[in-house]
Symmetry: C2
Subunit: 208 residues, 2 copies
């Protein structure tokens, strides 16, 4: 099983620009990546990190500035051939992942295993079917279900909140503080973020 | 295992008021409740629905207008005694739940099993410990972890996106349309909601 973690290293996490400076967004991206790499290794796999620009990372990192679709589709074409090879792709902005959630992603013996993200994304997948390709534009989970159906792959979906929680927007930061004690949570704490409870869902607030 | 589904039947889902009329919020609440009841039964359990006001429901329904904390704490006190009894509480606004996600909630043999909701809530739990009590005010998952620790219960958490996705706000409706074909999804479709993909996460839009 080849396991790839793609990450955007050039001006990452622009939707966090209202609460983090460009340098902070890069540091936070590196902290989230560290959590993902640590969880993958604790699950017994060695991740290949592929970034659009240099980033600080404890795992081997390859620079490739193609967009996500051409990158992943090229990896699929070279890794998964008829009856052989399997590729897992796990996004780098999933600091809630644990070894257990990664094991659950890798467990089903299906042609395509999808881990939906909140808001219609596809946060991780495993492919053993030679014809499956990705299309990460808006609402990708529906496209990936359709593409898998078109190539007649058997599909499994992993029901994991930890795999579903990608961190893109200020409203997502509270999830990191609530459910992780890893590198990203530590970074947020040192940057002054804390959980606030007013009414309804909790939020995060920056105090300094 | 006693399995209770509490529901607010009086002016429910006020945070959806910007997109649904009061009558529609009641109808949608009933549709979500139907999905939860169907999933619980398909998992081999019979739910007890406890509502603050009359609602249309296929399961036996009890009217109890106490707040959620006194209601659930009274159920805990009467159901779970030293070494005997178990109570599962599952919220009614979880239309993505499946028999499998309910089985995962009920599987761990722990004193307290927690299913976190997005935004720091506690969407479901199972209790076998006589001293555990609930406090559903903002950010309840942290309080429930703390309370379980204080009474020295062993705690398990269920990592389920389906149990985590409670439907409270307009931004949540897309999750129902993306990941369910049950009663609530059907209701939203008939009411004119559809998934829209612009940039970032998908949203739902009402066309009529």
């Amino acid at each position: 099983m080849r396991l790839v973690v793609p990450v955007s290293g050039s001006d990452p996490k622009t939707r966090l620009a209202s609460v983090l400076s460009p340098d902070e967004r890069r540091d936070f991206t590196e902290a989230m990546l560290r959590d993902v790499v640590d969880a993958v290794r604790a699950a017994g796999h060695e991740p290949e990190v592929i970034s659009t620009a240099p980033l600080d990372c404890a795992a081997p990192i390859t620079i490739d500035d193609r967009g996500l679709d051409p990158l992943v589709n090229s990896l699929l074409a070279s890794t998964v051939t008829d009856g052989e090879g399997a590729l897992a792709v796990l996004m780098a902005d999933l600091p809630l992942v644990t070894p257990e959630s990664i094991e659950r992603l890798l467990a089903p013996d299906a042609g395509v295993v999808l881990a939906p993200g909140l808001g219609g994304g596809t946060n991780a997948f495993v492919c053993r079917h030679p014809e499956f390709r990705v299309d990460y534009h808006g609402g990708s989970i529906r496209d990936h279900r359709r593409i898998a159906r078109e190539v007649e792959a058997d599909v499994a979906e992993v029901d994991s909140r930890r795999l579903a929680t990608d961190i893109d927007e200020p409203g997502d930061l509270a999830e990191v503080l609530l459910h992780s004690d890893g590198a990203a949570a530590g970074w947020l704490g040192r940057a002054g973020f804390e959980v606030t409870t007013s009414s309804g869902r909790v939020e995060s607030r920056r105090s300094q």
